[in-house]
Symmetry: C2
Subunit: 399 residues, 2 copies
Amino acid sequence: MRNTWLELPAGTGFGLANLPYGVFSTPGTPPRTGIAVGDDVLDLAAATGDDVHATGSLNAFLARGPAAWRELRAQLTEWLTDDRYRARVEPHLLPRDGVTMHLPVEVADYVDFYSSRHHAENLGRILRPGSPPLLPNWEHLPVGYHGRAGTVRVSGTPVVRPAGQRPGTPPTFGPTERLDVEAEIGFVVGTPSELGTPVPLGDLAEHVFGVCVVNDWSARDVQAWEYAPLGPFLGKSFLTSVSPWVVPLAALEAARVPAPARDVTLLPYLDDREHPWGLDLTLELRLNGQLVSCPPFADMYWTPAQQLAHLTANGAALRTGDLFASGTVSGPRHDQRGSLVELSEGGTRPLTLADGTTRTFLEDGDEVTVSATAPGTDGGRISLGEVTGRVVAHPIREE
Amino acid sequence: MRNTWLELPAGTGFGLANLPYGVFSTPGTPPRTGIAVGDDVLDLAAATGDDVHATGSLNAFLARGPAAWRELRAQLTEWLTDDRYRARVEPHLLPRDGVTMHLPVEVADYVDFYSSRHHAENLGRILRPGSPPLLPNWEHLPVGYHGRAGTVRVSGTPVVRPAGQRPGTPPTFGPTERLDVEAEIGFVVGTPSELGTPVPLGDLAEHVFGVCVVNDWSARDVQAWEYAPLGPFLGKSFLTSVSPWVVPLAALEAARVPAPARDVTLLPYLDDREHPWGLDLTLELRLNGQLVSCPPFADMYWTPAQQLAHLTANGAALRTGDLFASGTVSGPRHDQRGSLVELSEGGTRPLTLADGTTRTFLEDGDEVTVSATAPGTDGGRISLGEVTGRVVAHPIREE
């Protein structure tokens, strides 16, 4: 580990190899950009005097592009390692437990993929028993769809149990009875692209600034009834939660691994043999504090570079603030599944929690936390932080 | 017709009963808000001196809400009818053929519905021959999905033929061979709503500012291969074109008609007997200038009020600038179909154009225009303007 004048807690996931960006405020002060370091947050607006960090979202800084991202990261490292900067920087460190975190990015378009083979196969088995678990297109392209950007919220946002149409003859309207989670990783676009110009998969790091943890809350009964033929809509659009800290892609160099072997020859625009962007992140899914799953991101069939290349292959433009998520991360083992519908086999095999209660789907009051870590460039582990949310009962009102 | 000091062309669709909002510029001047009146545009930024009209999009004005919309509409009517205002207002009228129109609204979330029964049945017959043309959910809820907000562009934007994966064994990558149009009506949200608070269908006019014409360009081969199970993605996301003039909902009072009879009892949140929002708009679809279809909007099974109620039934928040579109408008007759895949029966029955050439799907160089009109409150017809686009060949590059 690099020397620093900072006193970092032992085993912190927020050492100098991380330096993630977020938007915070303290009582009576406006939201501004900060860097998580140890148990503190560095007030970047105050420390740099650059107004780009005082806008209340990362977008303006992200729009400056990769050279600016690299430059600031190098400067931060210098500030935090060279004792000469201590007097200047230290006054702008605030204890992280005293700040409020905000949505880090004003989300432009939100796309959600479906790139874990294990997840897709598990859902196929559960939803279409007797048929091949994967649909024919799945191995040829990263299946994905657009979600609702306007309901992406920061970790901690209460999860009000949504109402919707539930299957039945006739269908009924009421609070979802199958409220679920999806443990995912999200990728935040900084550099836009022109309409009509695809982004090749080798250009991931030119466009994607960083990574966060995502929980794509899902109402499985609503989703099951509504989704044919145009895909998920209200079963997803009530809330998507993201972790408050965006870890720069530059901090994940040591996490890069080859992608899994593919079963079919990929079309040239998806052929990633020269640009492997597998990422060895480990997710942890906790229900009321109890660890219920450890989904391994390294197993993902499609990488973020392929997702970005696919998403733009038709010439679709990127904007600063675009967020694309991996889809539920599930590994081959039962305790690596990233959603309750998988962990409970479609609601047929309840999980037993430490307090003796059982769960198929979420109950009111349940709290779900997804966190992730990665190997850092200094040999330690870095933290992507966590995304958490507690389920609130559906409000009683006339429907 | 109301008296006015303006000299309006006979039969103009842009009389005092219309007064639609758009964003325009002239050479060397910045984009600002204007009102179409006759063959002119009224420079609203200059005429009012209100900076809200100088922002380059309608969003800031839309965010002021329905009282402000009503107030300005009343003021405009007074200005344009009372001779005392002539000297003040007339200098701010510019010939419309000398201005450039811009995207009127910075689109927040874009949702596309599928609310024409005739369209859904036509597609069902074409795509799933031998099965019931409507899926079981269709009569119970307005099926819809999120599209890409970042590729919504103003009328006139070139339609670069997109590339994508086309079905085959194996699939191939290349320019779409089934480039299609979808004639639709779009609804622009002005007033936002809170996360967790559904918008009842009686509140449409509190939230929706106005209406535009939409062409949701579609690559049918790409769409057919990619869409299961998460819905359309790259087959749509390359471009959605909108007309430059947003007609206030207030201008469509005379167009309101009951919705068609429904075949099933609707759930209470969709029961619109007390809030009928059928709209008697007539669309016209032209291919290279030739009228090929006149889709009747009054036939739509689901109204915009139901679409808005459904879209928010799970508590999803609205933002200023949200755009939701009707889905392809098709009537019962063949010459009322709003897409080429319907007009050509899935590409099996080419249309013959006036020049003797035939079309199943679009060829490079083809120009498509969708326009719409409605009965106005003054007994005449008002125009929603048009959305047009010309197909440009896919650029040759290494894929």
